[in-house]
């Protein structure tokens, strides 16, 4: 039987043969973030795939990974496209570099995991909270249950972590502002090296 669940009015389905996604989301329902590790390469990958991109090895094992990371980039949606998100705007999609395996196997690579910016309780955050989050913000994973065997990972601000003084945000906050906060290139470049 396929795993099927109603999430925010959307029907999410994982087919029987899609064993990779099935395993991944099942671990999430146990509040475990597990990624496949190629047996030959010893490298983790995300999202679930059918072979190791570095060795073509089709054998892998599911390894628990600490769900902590840094915002690499993000999406901040003000005009909803999907009906289920009509009353959620503005909402944020976080693309975070996991601390685990960051910069491996090459400099610019990272396990970049997507999820919405949520409260620790799994609710969409307020517009005021959104304005505090940007590139550089430290985040951690939480899980929102879809069915008893299926949960979605999401991101929340890691309150226990040391946060950057001013995470990088798109310089225009409102929808009708012309006068932008000027980009401070020197601090932005420092960030790049950090």
């Amino acid at each position: 039987m396929p795993i099927e669940g109603d999430y925010m009015g959307m029907i999410l389905t994982i087919e029987d043969l899609d064993s990779e996604n099935r395993d991944f989301f099942r671990y999430c329902s146990k509040k475990e973030f597990r990624l496949q590790r190629g047996k030959q390469s010893g490298l983790l990958r995300y999202p679930p795939t059918t072979a190791c991109p570095w060795t073509r090895d089709r054998e892998s094992e599911w390894i628990p990974v600490e769900g902590k990371g840094t915002v690499h980039s993000y999406v901040e949606v003000h005009h909803p496209i999907q009906p289920s998100f009509k009353d959620k705007v503005p909402y944020m999609i976080i693309l975070a570099d996991l601390d685990t395996q960051k910069g491996q196997p090459t400099e610019h690579e990272a396990l970049r995991v997507a999820g919405n910016l949520m409260t620790e309780d799994g609710e969409f955050v307020s517009p005021e909270i959104i304005k505090t989050v940007g590139i550089g913000t430290r985040v951690k994973l939480i899980y929102v249950q879809v069915t008893n065997e299926f949960a979605l990972p999401h991101w929340t601000i890691d309150e226990s972590a040391e946060q950057p003084f001013e995470p990088w945000r798109y310089p225009q906050e409102g929808s009708n502002l012309i006068n932008f906060r000027k980009l401070d290139m020197s601090s932005s470049l420092c960030f790049l090296e950090a």
């Binding site: 999406v75 901040e76 003000h78 005009h79 999609i93 919405n116 310089p171 012309i178 290139m185």
Partner: protein, 422 residues
């Protein structure tokens, strides 16, 4: 012999068909909202116009290629309506990285002796049926397997999917909203000289950055228009194209659906502010025997203002990170060193998944762009090269064009064409 010693991209070799194939005919429907007709009907309209442009009869076309996202009509029905008997056809899945790639396929198919002339079309009701912006049927479709990793997060439309790349480029290189808005300013200037354009109004940087935010960093005016239309391009051997009504646009090089190491949203490889052009340029320029400095007009895909900038940068028209400066210093406007999307492109003329930019560059190379300049008694347009509003759109002495197609940050296609010098 080892594989590396084959010298795959030797600029002095003609084995990649440089110059052997041409675009001999181009055509389109009116760019509409509410076409009140099927994609089959739109397709026959555009193909007829392209055949008329080439001076071809039904017997002269024996191959057909089309692309769509399951929102079009397949080639056999369309060909039958036009009395075309096909020796070859194929309908493929795809969007913005298709046309340059399909032109390459058409060349290969003709080279293999499978047919003689290929009409390539894209027919879509992108406003009134399957909306390109992703609202309606697309957003209501059930969410399966791999799609859970993005659609369940409200991460679905093109603008939403590309936004992390756009924002990261601003972060990495200090690109500003005003710099990128200059793309819309340029394309709207061009569209104001194009009677076919859906939007003909000229915009300022201030108007772009004060329009409402759709999804950061995209304002409404950073996004392309949704329209209903069909477009067609006919490819044949250059020798044959020389017998057609209009001068050939001679294909120098094509690269198609070239990808970053992962073309999906996994983002494991490389900086996300780099796009597929970073890889495609190493095939495009050597095969053409030309470089960015030789190009007079670009057709860099403008699904969004940002896509134009990112591609111009990664194809080498400026240094990496300097795309914001390049698109805002006047270079890409008519009258500048290298205008981009002189028809107004997807931001203003109409949304065609890349076709209208190739059509425009074909007309530019013919020296016969359909602006409002007067036509002499020989039927030849007398271009003024005055680019004032409602004026000329022809680039003086246009010799070489480059089209840069975009599907997503990780996938792109490109083509170099040149004026025929027989």
């Amino acid at each position: 012999m080892t594989i590396s010693s084959l010298n795959e991209h030797d600029a002095n070799s003609n084995k990649y068909l440089r110059g052997k194939y041409s675009i001999c005919g181009v055509g389109e429907t009116t760019y509409l909202r509410g076409s009140t007709q099927s994609t089959r009907s739109l397709a026959t309209w555009a193909i007829s116009n392209a055949m008329e442009d080439a001076g071809m009869k039904s017997d002269d076309v024996d191959g057909m290629l089309s692309y769509s996202g399951n929102d079009s009509t397949f080639a056999p029905s369309v060909a039958g309506d036009l009395g075309i008997r096909l020796n070859f056809y194929m309908d493929v899945h795809g969007g913005g990285s298709s046309i340059e790639a399909l032109i390459g396929i058409a060349m290969g198919v003709i080279e293999a002796g499978m047919c003689k002339t290929v009409a390539i079309y894209r027919a879509m009701n992108g406003y009134s049926a399957v909306r390109i912006g992703g609202t309606g049927a697309r957003s209501a479709a059930p969410i399966l397997g791999d799609q859970i990793h993005h659609r369940a997060y409200g991460w679905q439309s093109a603008g939403q999917m590309f936004a992390p790349t756009f924002l990261r480029h601003m972060y990495d290189y200090g690109t500003t909203p005003e710099q990128v808005a200059a793309v819309k300013v340029a394309h709207s200037k061009h569209a104001s000289n194009n009677h076919k354009a859906y939007y003909k109004k000229r915009y300022t940087v201030e108007e772009v950055v004060s329009s409402r935010i759709i999804c950061k960093p995209l304002h409404l005016l950073d996004c392309c228009v949704e329209t209903d239309n069909a477009t067609c391009i006919i490819v044949t051997r250059t020798e044959r194209a020389r017998d057609c009504l209009n001068p050939p646009a001679v294909i120098q090089s094509v690269v198609g659906r070239c990808c970053k190491p992962r073309s999906d949203m996994h983002y494991q490889h490389g900086p996300i502010s780099t796009v597929a052009g970073h890889y495609a340029r190493d095939i495009l320029w050597p095969n053409a025997g030309l470089g960015p400095e030789d190009v007079d007009i670009t057709g860099s895909y403008d699904a969004f203002t940002f896509t134009t900038m990112l591609q111009l940068e990664d194809y080498g028209f400026c240094k990496k990170g300097e795309g914001g400066e390049y698109v805002s210093n006047g270079t890409i406007e008519l009258g500048g060193r290298r205008p981009n999307n002189t028809s107004g492109g997807h931001l203003c003329e109409g949304y065609t998944h890349g076709m209208n930019m190739v059509i425009e560059n074909t007309r530019q190379l013919r020296g016969n762009v359909d602006c409002s300049c007067p036509i002499d008694k020989n039927g030849r347009r007398q271009h003024t090269y005055n680019y004032k509003e409602g004026g000329c759109r022809q680039v003086k002495n246009a010799e070489v064009t480059a089209n840069l197609g975009w599907a997503m940050p990780g996938t792109g296609s490109a083509m170099v064409m040149a004026k025929d010098h027989r």
